[in-house]
Each structure stands twice: as structure tokens, then as C-alpha cells.
Symmetry: C2
Subunit: 483 residues, 2 copies
């Protein structure tokens, strides 16, 4: 066994490249949503690891016959579910190189290039988004790559928690209150569970169609007043730019002012829609970010950077470091002790970290900002096109105005239906997804079961949107006939 | 721009494979520890992202000239620092395929193969380690891939915290006490900070040379008694098999019995040394694991699986799920609602997750258990060889008995030295690392500054160990002459 022989790596690597290129060439031949049944793989694989090595040929056969059928093809041009998770040649090359170096970049010294490239590329990105200069590494803030938006919101919640407890005493934990909307991603609720925020102090303000599912700042203000008068300690507001259900945009400026008035931490989650804000015509959705303590967007969603790559900026890095740093003897080194470098281990939950800035750097270098803007615009154009198609068929309705590349729509239920179209629309989604031809997902808005059509897979063209719409129309005709 | 064109991916992918194979071919020509100065990269890269695309040629030039000098080469055969982070052809191929599918496997439905392969491969691995059957997915337990050991200990700490608070009431948080040794990895302390455990309730029991830096169970027992009599609530014991400083092994069986007697959670961190326990002759280090609630080892350290791949098993998955699950409408689906599948989002901190089981599966398939055992044995043999070399030179001493592939040693300080050899040994490490020829790290044991020589890079052979030893001897001669 020569596990890291350069020539073996070369030979096997070339074979894998061809396998992958062939996969992308034939990606439309697979059902988008995997159609396997729970437990399918257990029937196909042995009960224990092999004692002797298998050949690469045998492995490729198994991947083709056993693994691929169980894959839901997020990169298919007919994938319209959740939000996208973009792959690209540049992102893929970055993953390859990062896997090849296979460094563990907890401290600067463990690979200075990993830390320094991350600092530089996050500064580049902050400038592309026109974030206030306090978020740059040259000021008191800075950017860092987290794995996911869930980890991003957790680390800033911890920074905010510890900042407040430092003033109020650690026994005040039970009084700390978090404010957000019922449209905020469940990651915040999970972060609160982890951080020990008392569940009854997780304040969820209802958003409704009157504001297109943006939260009403007055309602947040009111909740804070009530809590203050009960002796509680409001300490954290989370706003969203592009909510998961309907891509709603919370009023950043007003929420930021409220946070400021009460010395609270203000976090903005723009996991999905942040990418759009590199285009001047969408940048206004970030107006108010100057009030934020932290801002997050996922380059792995809609920015051609392979998963995972979640970008987090903070205005004052010291709070993050205070909440998350440890300094064991076995990691001490000259550069860290001299305080002359960034050690990203103190900006995140885990100690170890991959060289993730490589892929983001490669995406920016190999595509350039102008092309990336065009890429975003093209998807928004395709979503507009889908929206028009929905509007042109009176059996359907668009449920909320479209902000970016997501269309929320549904089949209008016949008056005879008692469940406000839940069964009907669930049925439409289920038959469409079971066909293997497209994959869409759903949400519930004000009790209404709503279908989500999110454009954003890298291979999606107008023909795919048209075909998806035709499928939905045809299935709708069949379903309505049987109602 | 065709960011996901199959033929472009093929062409660029082949070029990257050759780049990487050439890197491995020449890896010994680079300084193992990067010799750049803080801030070096800022001087070399522009201030903002390019508007127009660059060529792949330009990118490769930059990687060669600007990135590689800032890389510390963890895969170099002359890397002996910290613990290893193994790369292999199989692991690399797994990373490539995972990046190509680029799925986000939070729930079963988002790619059933990702979840099911993970369940199967973790069961395989549990059997290789001869873990008790309760840790298998067919029982109430099961395995899951975490990013790092830090995340593994955090999720089980949260599961334990919430299990205890459920009985004791959530206001008891301030009374919860964690027990561990001063040799335990700093990840536990950080997990406690995150989970809101009061700092004064983090009980660190001193381990010393009398037990080769394993913790004394009597001392843990005593600390628990004292705390109980003060009305505190002991709830968590963490033991280590192969500590970070000196690869000490805590007495699992006795600690497990103590935990059981007090209804505490018992976690075992075998991040590094767990790999060795697939060899029958080292399995005894895990005796007592049958008392544990959770067990963790890093396949990304010494098991040829590229970073990150940390394996965690629990005896009762319901505690994990209770602490970490969320169930937003937008993620609901038939399979999850029917409770017929595992959704790993509820076993970890983040929502999103990569298809990491692929690389571990490929390592097991392409190498086979017997070869993997030989691989481990070879490194331990090389460490034994280094230990003999140290013992043969009376100017040096071996500080603790070697358990696995780590040798803790130092230059014996001349009696004239007042700092017990700190400066001398720091100097030896610093000159050796500055030479670029090897990279070793250090720790402090009972106040002694100790050098760590960890064998485990995939390309290391006896000639590299011999050359490292010769370098250390030569530098020692120079240093001792100048004392």
C-alpha cells in the first residue's frame, strides 16, 4: 500500500476527473430527487469493512450502481428546491487543491497562506458588498469563513451573550432575551438552545402578508418594552435579508436603531440573498447594514463556491475572540504569542479548519465580478420569467411578490376545498417530484401551503424553467380534474 | 461564462490533478514549516477582487509563487508536529466526488445515499474497533461524522446538559459540574464556555508523571464528593485515550463506573489514538468503553481520510436528537415525518453537511482493514525506532513512556541552567523548525518544556526519521557548545 504515491494519485485522479465530467454531462438523465426507499443501501452493501483492498474499477461500479441512485442532484438544471447549492469548475478546483494540501489551519502558523488568503478575500468581498469599513480587517472588525449560516449565527450569539453577561453578571443568563421574526431560519432557535438561552426568552414576532413577511419593527420595539418592564434583558436582534420561506427582507435600518437604543447586538442573516447584493441594483436591500454588529452570507448557496463556505463579518472582532478563544500550551507559537497574526480558531466553534478561502479566491479570480453579477442577474431573470408564466395561468397565484430568484406560488384551491388547498398543492409537489423531472419544495405562509420555485442551479437555462412549468401545468390539469 | 460546463471541468480538472501530483512529487523540496512573515500575502495580492476573469495559467502561477510558500506542508514526510492530518489517494478521490455532487445532506431526502452510507460505514468502523453493540445503528445508538473532535465533545456535552436539566430544571444550569484532567484537550473547556457551564464548575484534576499523565480516578471521585456535599450537580466526565500532550490513556473502566454511580454522562475522546485500536494488540486501550455514553475518534488524523472526518458514536441517540433538533416547515418531508429515516441535522451543530462518508468508505474499500492495520503498525514502529535513537544519546531523555506513535523527549539541561531546560529545548525546536527540514512541536508536562515527535505523515519512512534525528543531534551539539 502506497497511500500517497504521486503517480498513483495522478492516475486515479485523472480517472476521477473523467468520471465527474461524465456525471455532469449526463446529469439530466437522473431523477433530480432520488427515488430510493429508506434503507435501500443496507441491502446493497456488506455488513462489515473489507479486509483486503478492492480495485478502483469495482469502486466506480458501486458508485454508479449503488450511490448515484441515492443522490439528489443539487447540480441538476432541473433542481428548484430549498435554495441552491452552487458548484462550479473554479469552486471544484479549489476543493481539489484544499484537499491536496490537507492542512489544518487552526492557527496562522499551521499554514499562513490559509489565514492570510481568508482575510484578504473576505476584505475583497466586503468591498464588493459595500459593507461599512468597520467590517474590514484593517479596522476593528473582519471577516471569517464559517461552515454554515447556523455556525455564523451561533458564534455571534455567543459573542453577544458573553458581552452582555460580562456587564450583567453570569447569573443573568436566565434573563437574556432574543428577538426575531417567525420567518427567521430555525438555525437561530437552535443557536439559542445551544447557548443556554431560556426557551421562554426566545421572542418570535409574527410577520404577515401586510409587510410581505418582513417583520414590523414596531412589534419588536413593543416586545422589548414589555420585557424591560418585567426586568428581562433584551440583548440580540436577528434580521434576515431573503428569508428561507419567501425571501422577505426585514427593515434593517429601523431594527438596527432599536438594537442600538438598547445596547443590543444586531445580526443580519443574508445567507441566500447576500449574493444578489453584489449587483448595484440590488444593493439597496442591504441599506441599514451600517447599524449591524455582524453580517452573514453563504458563498456556497448562490455564488458558485462549493459547499461549505459561509462568510461572516463582525464590526468588533474582540467580542468573538473573547467568547471563543482558548490558549493551550501545545498550540503556543511565536507568531501567536506576539499577537502579530490572526488565529481563526478563536473565531469559530471547532479548532480545526480547512483551507476554504482557496475555492472562494478561485471563483473570484476565474470568473471576475462582472461575470458573477451577470450570473446572478440571469437567475433573477429566469425567476421573473417563471413568475410571468404563473401569472398567465389563472388557475395559479403568486403568493408573495418576488424579490430575488425565488417564486412562491400555488394552485388556487377550488371553493369546495376545505383545507385551503393544502392537499391539492402538496399533491402537485409530490407528483412533480416523484416524476424525477424536477425538484421543488414548499413552505407555509399564514397557514397557506405554498410551493417554492428557486432558480439558481448553475446549469439552469430558460428551457428548463419552461419544461418545469409545463410539467406543473400538466399535473395541475390532472389533479384539478380529479378534485 | 459556463461555470459548470462538463468539458471545461474535465480539462481544468486534469490540469489540477497534474499540478497536485507534481506537488506531491516535489513535496520534500519545500520547507516543512512555512517560513513567511506575518502579512506576507497582503504585499503580493491586489486590494480588491478582479472585475474580469483571469486565466487558469495565471492562477497556477500565483499558487506556485504566492500560496505554496505560505503553506505548512502537513503531508511532508518530514512533518512530525502536533498530531498528523493524513491525506491519501483514496481520501482525496472521496473529497473530489463529494465536491462534485455538492449536495447539502441535512435530511435524508436531500441525498439518501449520503445519510445511509454514513450509517453503514460508521457501523463498519464500530465493529473494527469492537465497540459494544449498543453503539450500532441497529440498537438505540449509532455513529455520525462530525467535522472535528471539538464539535463531537460539544454535541455530547449539550446532550448531557439537557438530559440533566430535564430532570433538575433549567435553572440548575449554574450547578452543573464537568470533570476532566488537565491533560484533556482544550476543546472541552471551549465546549463548556459555549454551553453556558459556569467556569468555576469546570473541574480540572491534575495528572502527573506518577500515572504517566493519566488521571487518577480517586481524585475525580473525591472532587465529585466535595461538589455533591456543596449541593452541586456532577453531570459529565471526559476521559482521553491518547492525550494531545503525551498520548496518555485515562483509566476508562474506573472513570466509567464513577460516572455510572452518579448518573453522569461519560465521554471518551480518542481523537488521535482511536485509529491504533483497530489493531488487536492496541485494542486493550479501549477496555472500559462499554461504560461510555459516547466515543469519538478522528479518521482525519491517522486514518488516511482527508480532513475533516471526526467519528462520534453514542449509546442513546435520543439525547442527541432532543438537544439538537429543530423541525421548520420548509424542511418537512414524507420520509422525515414518517420517522422512517435518520436526519443527521439533528445530531450536529450546523444544519448543512457535506457528503463526508464517501471518503471514509473509499479509504476502507481501496485499502482494506489489513493494510490499514499495517499502516498504523509501521508508524508505531518508526516511533519506537526514534525512541531508541533518543535513548542511545545520553544528552537526551525520553520524558514519558511512548504509547503509540508519539515520542515526548528533551535535551537534558546542564545543571547550570536555571529554567529546567526551557530555553535550551525551545531553542532546539526553533532552530530545527527554522531550518525548514522538519517540523516538530512542544508541550509542557509538570512544568517541563518537552519536545513532541509525532510520526504519522503518510510518506514518512525510516530515512526521514533518521534524518530528523541527525538534525536534532547536530543542532543540540551546537546549542550545548554555546551554553
Amino acid at each position: 500500500m502506497r497511500p500517497m504515491d504521486a503517480e498513483q494519485l495522478r492516475e486515479c485522479g485523472h480517472r476521477m476527473v473523467d468520471f465527474i465530467a461524465d456525471y455532469y454531462k449526463s446529469i439530466e438523465t437522473f431523477p433530480v430527487l432520488s427515488q430510493v426507499q429508506p434503507g435501500y443501501l443496507k441491502e446493497l452493501l456488506p455488513d462489515s469493512a473489507p479486509n483486503r483492498p478492492d480495485t478502483l474499477d469495482a469502486l466506480f461500479d458501486d458508485i454508479r450502481e449503488k450511490i448515484v441512485p441515492g443522490v439528489t442532484h443539487w447540480q441538476s438544471p432541473n433542481y428548484f428546491a430549498y435554495y441552491p447549492s452552487n458548484s462550479s469548475t473554479a469552486g471544484f478546483l479549489g476543493e481539489m487543491l484544499s484537499a491536496a494540501f490537507n492542512i489544518v489551519g487552526f492557527s496562522w502558523i499551521t499554514s499562513p497562506a490559509a489565514t492570510e488568503l481568508e482575510v484578504i478575500v473576505l476584505d475583497w468581498f466586503a468591498k464588493m458588498l459595500k459593507l461599512p469599513s468597520q467590517f474590514l480587517s484593517s479596522a476593528l472588525g473582519g471577516g471569517v469563513i464559517q461552515g454554515t449560516a447556523s455556525e455564523a449565527v451561533l458564534v455571534v450569539l455567543l459573542a453577544a451573550r458573553d458581552r452582555t453577561l460580562k456587564k450583567q453578571g453570569k447569573k443573568s443568563l436566565e434573563k437574556l432575551v432574543v428577538y426575531t421574526s417567525d420567518q427567521t431560519h430555525s438555525a437561530l432557535q437552535k443557536a439559542c438552545q445551544i447557548a443556554g438561552i431560556f426557551p421562554e426568552n426566545f421572542r418570535v414576532v409574527k410577520a404577515d402578508c401586510s409587510n410581505n413577511y418582513a417583520v414590523a419593527p414596531e412589534a419588536v420595539s413593543e416586545a422589548i418594552s414589555v420585557d424591560l418592564s418585567s426586568g428581562l434583558i433584551p440583548f440580540f436582534i436577528c434580521a434576515t435579508v431573503g428569508t428561507t420561506s419567501s425571501s422577505a427582507v426585514d427593515p434593517l435600518h429601523k431594527l438596527g436603531k432599536i438594537a442600538q437604543a438598547h445596547d443590543m447586538w444586531f445580526h443580519i442573516d443574508a445567507a441566500y440573498a447576500g449574493s444578489a447584493c453584489i449587483c448595484p441594483e440590488y444593493r439597496h436591500h442591504l441599506d441599514g447594514v451600517e447599524e449591524a454588529d455582524s453580517f452573514n452570507m453563504n458563498a456556497h448557496k448562490w455564488f458558485l463556491t462549493n459547499f461549505d463556505c459561509s462568510l461572516l463579518w463582525v464590526k468588533d472582532r474582540s467580542h468573538l475572540i473573547e467568547a471563543l478563544s482558548t490558549n493551550p500550551e501545545f498550540l503556543k507559537n511565536k507568531a501567536s504569542q506576539a499577537n502579530s497574526v490572526v488565529d481563526f480558531k478563536d473565531w469559530q466553534i471547532p479548532l480545526g479548519r480547512r483551507f476554504r478561502s482557496l475555492k472562494l479566491w478561485m471563483v473570484l479570480r476565474l470568473y471576475g465580478v462582472e461575470n458573477l453579477q451577470s450570473y446572478i442577474r440571469k437567475h433573477i431573470q429566469l425567476a421573473k420569467h417563471f413568475e410571468q408564466l404563473v401569472l398567465s395561468d389563472s388557475r395559479f397565484e403568486v403568493v408573495t411578490p418576488r424579490n430575488f430568484s425565488l417564486v412562491c406560488f400555488r394552485l388556487v384551491p377550488p371553493t369546495s376545498e376545505e383545507d385551503d388547498g393544502r392537499k391539492l398543492n402538496y399533491g402537485l409537489m409530490d407528483t412533480a417530484n416523484s416524476s424525477g423531472k424536477i425538484f421543488i419544495s414548499h413552505t407555509v405562509l399564514s397557514g397557506k401551503f405554498v410551493l417554492r420555485f428557486a432558480v439558481g442551479a448553475p446549469l439552469t437555462e430558460e428551457q428548463h424553467v419552461d419544461a418545469a412549468w409545463k410539467l406543473l401545468q400538466d399535473e395541475a390539469t390532472k389533479l384539478l380534474r380529479s378534485v
